[in-house]
Symmetry: C2
């Protein structure tokens, strides 16, 4: 470890070592990004080896005794805030590297790879039975993972903590419970009808969507000298660093979905691009938590992107770009269609309102799986039961039910709740912005996002992981996580606008 | 070092360590490839840090005492051929890692970066004086680099060896001398005239060129499940590994240059794709030498690509794809134009014949620079003198003379000769193939490259770096490097076809 070369300045040595770890993580990000967007199919196995080599190097550095010694020395310096934050973040990462053995890490990766292949086949055959043993193996290994953190009371907490540092079931569960309690009655009362998609079936020529989306992202704050925008089947954002943020979306000439998916990714991308320059090559240059990251994406995609103010800005551009599809369309109809709600058994087809209940169902089931109170074999029945009770929809088969998501095949438990928590946080942030910027709606309608992005940069984005996510939120909006503002927004929108939404 | 985990089997341990080094090199290749083809401009500094982190990890592994011990143990095993080859190749790489200090490496990288910026500005201003101090610094550092290898008699040998392992001035110089002696008179006798480019000025719509090139590369043996073909200003081939070979070319609607540039890169790419599977994740999965690599590229681009047999296959496809430009063109005129020769002061505009003299000039000058017998300040005069004597052309200014190439700004001395050596080797290989495959021309005219590629795979490509380049050549063609076949080919072509070429 190079750090040993400057024994007189442990903070400088710690920062240098942390910088190398960050450089290596940027490389991992490129390996992942490239695999998803450009790598030839034949390179899958070779790429896995390359990625494993870098990830092993990162783990070895995190687990090294020298890093432990440096962290101890810097802790005793009682230095400025960022030094303390660096110690906090590295301590957590080091704990994971030290406690989770190389063997268990290997087993987790291998089981997840096998489960993903099995999941693809199981979904094609709509046979949960085929996937079940792989799911059981993933659950078993994630319980072994939780055993590495005996100080956590609930095996689910170790999973949550991976995505939202410091998040605990006892704090997350009440938020989701409140969402459920408030939203189930609204959803139950919905008069659900078939609403045509925004702009009908097009046509929306893909080259024009591509051009419009790129200029829209730039207009909305994406620095294109530090970003790349391409297409991939699964929209995503991958940051190789603050200076190199990759964004994807997908286009179909039959829908404008890709434009709005790009707004979601824009939220992720702006967060990554706007970490403070002083955090470069530091582990503080990360989103505070997966839920805080998702909040930025949902805020841009839904709260901003589907708002009537923003559509006053966007819709004329869409109509000009797609005269065949939208030449005679009206803003009100377009907005109503975009904001319509509909009960569906499929999460990825869900609207702003019902989406949260899809997440609640997954949260409750995966928590029980991890706790051992739900056997994998009972999952399809439990799934169907909750879809009936919370959403009032019938699950027709495994493919359209318990096999619809890949997350559990990845071994990613504890990730689903961050989607709903992101919605909740986005609403808290939005209310704070509206309070701080009384002219917000007018500015947005003019396509001027300066105040909005400025507020988010100042209060959230530039801080990266400097503060624990809850502290960051408290500093930004004056309170901890609170489902109230989000529920109030949904109630306002889907009682006032419901008639419009399903006309 | 993981190797220590299997003390009982030093060969297995050595192979495991070598595999990790190869994985890391594949990652460096991706960092380079991505930077050249997709990275946003703002990421340059961050990418340099990422690349440095991986290259440092490679150097540390190569220089580690454990690797030295393993190499010693395997050497004493007296094992099979590939084990001995692995020791030979790793020994050389380790020697460089051990002998060249981290400080000198850093200085080389930094000086080259500064020189490249200075070169860009100097070329714009056509002012060698501006570039001179940076060139002097590069030369000085490359002499310091040579000092790390005191067993080499000539400071130029350390440069050569970096690209062609084992190559020495005393063997390379006579080959280039013979080329010069034979070609200068031919070039002097040329009646040079202006020949229109193949197919005139087009138009050659870029999308059709792209489509044709991609299908041509596949038809000519590129496995597209293990390759990616994109565009970049400077055509190149970068191998992330045998399963992931990146190829670029560039297109202009005014010329077909991009198609033939792609054939050059195809030669590089096929070599990389066809290393034996048993060499995967081994340092033996490299081209035997830069000159051997270049030979494959020149063989595909020139010896095959511009041959009348191949043009009988390709020209009808070109005519069908570009009816506006080639609808009325004749194969003979197209071929004559493609194979025409012309004296020019610019290497990148040179034809098959004169190109070699451009290389001879650079070789002689850079060898004298390294020896200290030519001062950097005297370079422009020496350059003009040799262009006059060897090519009979006048150098008008620095930009079109001594500043035309970036290689010396990169600090890459000893690389130029590999271009001419590649031509020489390509001719030796071609003669051997013609001898082994009497029906070669007919097969090529049918677009059947099976025999050609099969021979190259069997005798050259699959072996990677298993044999020293000279041994590989000896095994393939029955003799060491020999300019004779190449000179005979050029004499045949440019005395017989000259009238055609400049009509």
């Amino acid at each position: 470890v190079r750090a040993a070369a400057t024994p007189g300045d442990p903070l400088a040595a710690l920062r240098a070592e942390a910088a190398t770890i960050c450089d290596l993580r940027g490389v991992v990000a490129l390996l992942v990004w490239d695999q998803q967007t450009a790598m030839p199919s034949g390179a899958t196995v070779a790429r896995a080896k390359q990625r494993a080599a870098i990830e092993r190097a990162i783990q070895e550095r995190l687990a090294s005794p020298e890093l432990g010694r440096l962290l101890e020395e810097v802790r005793q310096l009682d230095d400025d805030g960022d030094a303390a934050a660096l110690v906090r973040v590295l301590d957590r990462e080091r704990r994971s590297a030290v406690r989770v053995s190389v063997e268990l890490r290997g087993e987790l990766v291998e089981a997840a790879a096998l489960a993903q292949s099995a999941w693809v086949e199981a979904r094609e055959r709509s046979s949960f039975a085929h996937f079940r043993p792989f799911l059981e193996r993933n659950v078993e290994l994630r319980r072994s993972y939780a055993d590495c953190f005996p100080e956590l009371e609930d095996p689910y907490d170790a999973q949550l903590d991976e995505f939202d540092p410091g998040a605990r079931s006892r704090e997350v569960a009440p938020v989701l419970e409140e969402l459920k309690r408030s939203l189930v009655p609204i959803v139950r009362d919905l008069r659900s009808g078939e609403v045509p998609p925004p702009g009908g079936d097009g046509p929306f020529p893909v080259d024009r969507q591509r051009e419009l989306t790129r200029s829209l992202l730039e207009r909305m704050g994406l620095d294109s000298s530090r970003a790349r925008v391409v297409e991939s089947p699964h929209p995503m954002t991958v940051a190789m660093g603050r200076h190199d943020v990759g964004v994807t979306t997908r286009y179909s000439s039959e829908s404008l979905e890709g434009v709005f998916l790009a707004l979601h990714e824009l939220g992720h991308a702006l967060y990554e691009q706007r970490f403070g320059a002083e955090l470069d090559r530091s582990p503080l240059a990360q989103g505070a938590a997966a839920s805080m990251h998702e909040a930025q994406a949902r805020l841009l995609e839904k709260r901003l992107g589907q708002s009537s103010a923003f559509l006053r800005f966007l819709f004329p551009q869409l109509r000009a770009a797609f005269p065949d599809a939208l030449g005679k369309a009206e803003l009100e109809d377009f907005s109503a269609s975009l904001n319509s709600v509909r009960r569906s058994p499929i999460r990825l087809k869900a609207d702003e309102l019902t989406y949260n209940l899809h997440i609640v169902i997954r949260f409750e089931l995966e928590r029980d799986l991890l706790a051992g109170t739900l056997a994998a074999g009972d999952l399809p029945d439990a799934w169907a039961d909750l879809y009936d009770r919370y959403l009032g929809v019938e699950v027709s088969d495994d493919a359209g039910g318990v096999l619809q998501d890949v997350q559990w095949a990845f071994g990613a438990f504890g990730y689903f709740p961050t989607y709903a928590l992101g919605n909740v946080i986005a609403a808290q942030l939005w209310d704070a912005i509206e309070l701080a910027v009384p002219t917000l709606a007018d500015e947005i309608a003019e396509g001027d996002l300066g105040s909005l992005l400025g507020w988010l940069t100042e209060h959230v984005w530039r801080h990266g992981r400097r503060y624990p996510s809850g502290v960051l939120l408290e500093r930004a909006v004056g309170s901890g996580i609170d489902a109230g503002p989000y529920i109030a927004y949904l109630e306002r929108k889907f009682t006032h606008e419901r008639a419009l939404a399903v006309h």
